[in-house]
């Protein structure tokens, strides 16, 4: 693996960049692996990377039905924060945030993690109460999250409209300064490059059609478009398609897949310094380093596997943006797209072991799992390697839906993303 740096860039510039080698080989599957990861998104590639790097397990294949990073990792609005309410969540997302901060150096790949601050707007008394609850819980959990008055919020994000006569006046905001964004594609590519360099096979355009189990019920491997691949351990990180894959192993999941849309504006010079989320009006916005405004929408009302979604939702999202940032009505939408998010009943992920021996799962991130990528991948690798829960992912079990020990961030605050 050629080391990336200003020096190597300069050297190659002089030779017309003919020296660069491929960042990951496009591998053909071997007959058998120690671990097969289904899904080459950030979570799947990350798990493979940490398996190789931290647990010395390198006989690993990451298999994707399409091109790596082409799922939600490649189509999300990249909001990264950790100011979640419950201890379990705060611990998981904060672990991820710690890893985000060193990820570019760890991967030797600039994922452009940008600590520009994520601000959540409160538009009514209920928002204020629930944000205060988050802020206090976060403080005692050692997670940064601060209350801002409307004026402070405006100072932090000048385009914000804080007029008290607004339909949804801004009554204040919760700001996590350490939070921010990262370059979505680079996360997948960086993990892929790092994993491949350590011997992991990355197999693209190869749908996993079924998970095969032996007579004793344990996992034997995966059926794929390129034939059967033997493996005693299979980890599924297939996001929107997880329930389809798990079904083939006889495990029915508490998941539903919904279309979620996002859009970008034409690129403009820096005008939006941070990330702003408003769950009450359903608007999520930041400005990418390339200059376009990146805007997230809500899910469509019906389940779907088509990466589309309706016009009516986008209309509402854009109206919400114009309501909160009236200077943007003359900005133009450049492109909009959809992804398929897998949603659990309590809006928290399912992460770790399953009732089937040798089968592990990392799913249910719904509209908010990009931020968790390093943390979830890191702890899943541990669980796969040791076949036991990591203290941080232990609460995110399937059992909770049976015993009722839910981690209901949504119910507690109606906070998405």
């Amino acid at each position: 693996m050629t080391h990336f740096s200003a020096i190597s860039l300069l050297k190659n510039a002089l030779t017309g960049h003919s020296g660069w080698r491929e960042q990951w080989p496009d591998s053909e599957p071997k007959a058998e692996y120690d671990v097969v990861v289904v899904g080459a998104g950030g979570h799947g590639l990350g798990a493979a990377y940490y398996l190789a790097k931290q647990h010395g397990i390198t006989n690993v294949a990451v298999i994707d039905k399409g091109w790596l990073g082409g799922g939600n990792t490649g189509r999300n609005t990249t909001i990264i924060r950790s100011n979640y309410l419950y201890d379990e969540s705060a611990r998981l997302y904060d672990h991820a945030l710690d890893l985000w901060e060193g990820l570019s150096q760890d991967l030797n790949y600039n994922v452009m993690f940008s600590r520009r601050g994520v601000m959540m707007l409160a538009h009514n008394v209920h928002d204020v109460q629930s944000f205060q609850r988050h802020i206090h819980a976060n403080r005692l959990n050692g997670v940064d999250n601060a209350w801002l008055t409307p004026e402070e919020a405006k100072a932090f994000c000048p385009p914000l409209n804080i007029s008290p006569s607004a339909r949804y006046p801004v009554m204040g905001a919760a700001l996590q300064r350490r939070a921010g964004t990262a370059r979505h594609d680079a996360v997948a590519w960086g993990y892929a490059r790092g994993a491949a360099a350590r011997g992991v096979d990355i197999i693209q355009n190869c749908p996993v059609t079924a998970i095969r189990r032996g007579a004793d019920g344990a996992v034997e491997g995966v059926e794929t478009a390129k034939g059967f691949i033997r493996a005693k351990k299979v980890a599924v990180s297939a996001a929107g398609h997880t329930s389809v894959v798990m079904e083939s192993a006889g495990v029915r999941m508490p998941l539903e897949s919904y279309p979620l849309q996002a859009l970008v504006s034409e690129p403009v010079k820096p005008v939006f310094p941070c990330v702003v989320m408003s769950n009450t009006v359903h608007a999520y916005i930041s400005q990418s380093d390339k200059g376009e405004l990146v805007i997230g929408s809500g899910t469509d009302q019906y389940t779907s596997y088509s990466q589309r979604g309706g016009l009516n939702l986008i209309e509402h999202t854009v109206a919400a943006i114009c309501e909160v940032f009236p200077i943007f009505t003359r900005m133009r939408m450049l492109r909009k797209w959809g992804g398929i998010v897998d949603v659990t009943p309590d809006r928290s992920a399912i992460l770790g072991k399953t009732p089937v021996r040798g089968l592990y799962v990392n799913c249910g991130w719904g509209t908010g799992g990009f931020k968790a990528t390093p943390g979830a991948a890191h702890t899943l690798a541990w669980t796969v390697a040791k076949d036991e829960p990591h203290p941080i992912n232990a609460p995110f079990t399937l059992e909770r839906f049976c015993n009722g020990r839910l981690i209901d961030e949504a119910a507690a605050a109606a906070v998405a993303h």
Binding site: L140, V268, K269, C322, E323, G404
Partner: protein, 998 residues
Amino acid sequence: MTRFRVKGAGRVRHDRPVRFTFDGRSFKGREGDTVASALLANGVHLLGRSFKYHRPRGIMTAGSEEPNALINTSRGAGRAEPNTRATVQEIWPGLRTQSQNKWPNLKFDVGAVNDRLYMLFSAGFYYKTFMWPKSFWDRIYEPVIRNAAGLGKAPSEPDPDRYASRYLHTDLLVVGAGPAGLAAAREAAQAGLRVTLVDENAEMGGSLLSEPGVKIDGQAAWDWLAATLVELEERGVRLLCRTTAIGYYHQNMLGLVQRLTDHLETPAESAPRERMWRVRATQVILAQGALEKPLVFDGNDRPGVLLAGAAQTFLNRYGVRVGARAVVATSHDSAWFAAFDLADAGTKVAAIVDTRAEPGAALLAAAEARGIAVLTSHTVTGTKGRLRVASVRVNPLKNGQVGAARSLDCDCLLISGGWTPSLHLFSHTKGSLAWDEETRSFLPDRKTEACEIAGAGRGLWGVAAALEDGVAAGRACILAAGKEATASSAVAVEDDRPGSGESHKELPSDRKPGRARAFVDYQNDVTAKDIRLAVREGMRSIEHVKRYTTNGMATDQGKMSNINGLMIAADAVGKPPPEVGLTTFRPPYTPTSFGAFAGYHRGNHFEVTRKTGIDAWAEAEGAVFEPVAQWRRAWYFPKDGEDMAAAVARECAATRGSLGIFDASTLGKIEVAGPDAVTFMNRMYTNPWTKLAPGRCRYGLLLGEDGFIRDDGVIGRLSADRFHVTTTTGGAARVLNMMEDYLQTEWPDLKVWLTSTTEQWATIALNGPNARHLLVPLVKGLDLSDSAFPHMSVAECEVAGLPARLFRVSFSGELGFEVNVPARYGRQLWESLIEAGSAYDICPYGTETMHVLRAEKGFIIVGQDTDGTVTPDDAGLGWAIGKAKADFVGKRSLARPDLVASGRKQLVGLLTDDATTKLEEGAQIVADPRQALPMKMIGHVTSSYHSSALGRPIALALIEDGRALEGKTLYVPMPGAAHAATVTGTLFYDPDGKRLKL
């Protein structure tokens, strides 16, 4: 001094000059010009600077696909926008335009140093560097990158313009009004279909506007066009120009955006700027035409280099010659026609350079007739000229070998790499494309919607073919609509100029490939070698190539670059183009202003604001309001200079001391009626209802099937078969929907029906020791004495002369009544009560006081003291569960292991030991404040107020095993200090409820 204007040519009004400014300089154009055509008429080619290298850029195209000529347009305060395509923006007197992405000015731009260092800025360079030292990223690298990024500047003021929207239902929507679209629309209209025809241009006609020489049915093209448009009008076809179909959605739903005022000098102040049409069409015909492809060679981006088809359009449609001395470089016939038209208009065409060995004999003859030199089997390997092309470097090709170069002087270079069908909208539907080796382009294949594609969109070049195909598409739709197609006369076309050609990856060159600056995506500065580098680095999927190089991600969304990019990537990967494939097309077809999506939903119409009949009175009294769900509710009624605390303290004291009045109209109300009403209530609510006598009320608790509290409210039994259910303000719609769901799908056998009466009634709550004294004289037909009408009773009667449904209930702990009258009388009753109440210093109070009063009594607010994870027992409402009932919604879940486990959070009271500190709502509670972070939190404060009745702050909290901790001291760690507080019961005021029994 518009040197390049051709007298009498084009469709602009030569007799109507129009003045506008570009970068502060005033220019003269003609009515009908775009900014681009007007500037070209003035010999201006340099319009902007590129994204990454800040290279000088000019006008490439004559349409909405323009990648380079992006300008800032403005008509004054709040009415300015970046990245407007100069080729689309029509000029009007006073229009101000500016170039972008340059400093200090367009001619001399410091950013252009990037161009010298271009070797460093290879594809994806930023992924490879800016990582060391780590700390530099936030403070230096990223700010620098961000400031370099972006093109224009975002608007800085709110937009005063309005935006509009409509729904439209039509039998047939035709997108594109070129020959194919026009023919299709006419055919269908003749058969009596409701037809809508849209085109993004300022006028209908498409390529016909650039092909005046063609004759259709004996008429000159433009006469035929005019006649056809008249016929369409007469046949009731809805014609929308300046209207772009932006997206093609499920089941033939298309979004159209119509530009209404950007081309007008003085639009009416209230005129909408744009309109979103949400069209539902039974059938759709896509006649979007084709886009011309550039050739990829070193220096193909210099101002003065433009597409041949664009030059033809500027000449024939706008009467503008793009230069005085032209060289034409092409691999397709169509550019020859452009050359001929220009030559005929007086431009010296120095040479036609064609990569093909044998262009048609007819073409060669026509060139010779005009004395145009022709270089066949030639490639283009470079251009010169600082801010405008001055010469072009060409080389002969002999059996794959690039021969010696020669240079041709010129002031404009017309290029054409052939054409590619516009299938963007078709692709939105997930229709599949098939590669056509003959035209070397993708053509529509499998359809997923009821649509036809016609004309150049199907790779049919030429007017005749387009017309014919349009007719055919029209007829197909007529048949599909079950109508009779009239025998259509075949259209005769003369002087048609269809063409053919070959297509290329980057053109062969004799120069070092590593040094070539052959642009594929002009706006994003993506070169052929960037694409090859991406492939070399393992980006073998076209989607990876796109994201790594950003090819096709600029504001033209690949209209210029997709196919050329694909050709080069395919070559680098070593696969045929169809196996590499295209990236996904997504809406919108062209960049579309946010306002068009927002439509009317701005300001106070962003969403409805629901108001009660008494709201206006409260507003007049100076009430402060709070948004609750869709409603706005009076929060408190400050008197001269009072702050919230003072007002609330006064309102509380007045109510407990004598009499308070409260507008409770927003409470949800549902009438449950029918023989099975009581059975239904027993199944829905936790409480038992069978024994509740008519005329009596009961507090009802509603759970979700998961066992957690969803809603609550007082429920009155009006008769054996009829209940008056109240819900929370925010819960009204949800509860009714939930009830209907169970009733319709689980218990369809029950004879009971639900009717929302939330807005049938205005509800006014009277609370306080004098409530009865006030009411007695006003009430007819009901004995209000405690014995006759005890707490938790309901009855029909007359109040202040109005028909009323009177409840005796209390959410304050005081003697309380809730008067329901038909909504139209709400304000009238309110005023009568205020008037009669003056004897008791009646005090109007808002939601905040209501919250304090109920908290003093330990009554919960669903959503504040509960959060979707709280069971009845957690909330101390175990008593509300009908123990004898076999089942009710949520009962089974209450038996799940975690819901019966110890350590659940229970609702308790919390009193700060210093008796002065008011805890913050949401504050967390710990047993040991001295522990290190992360602390073990055992609960949080759900409600906290200053209680004037108790003269101290009170709080409710959810705490693990809280009820067992009563009397214990816990801590609320806040920045600075941890407050000690004692756990208590939730009933702070009048524990034995004497005041209710007055």
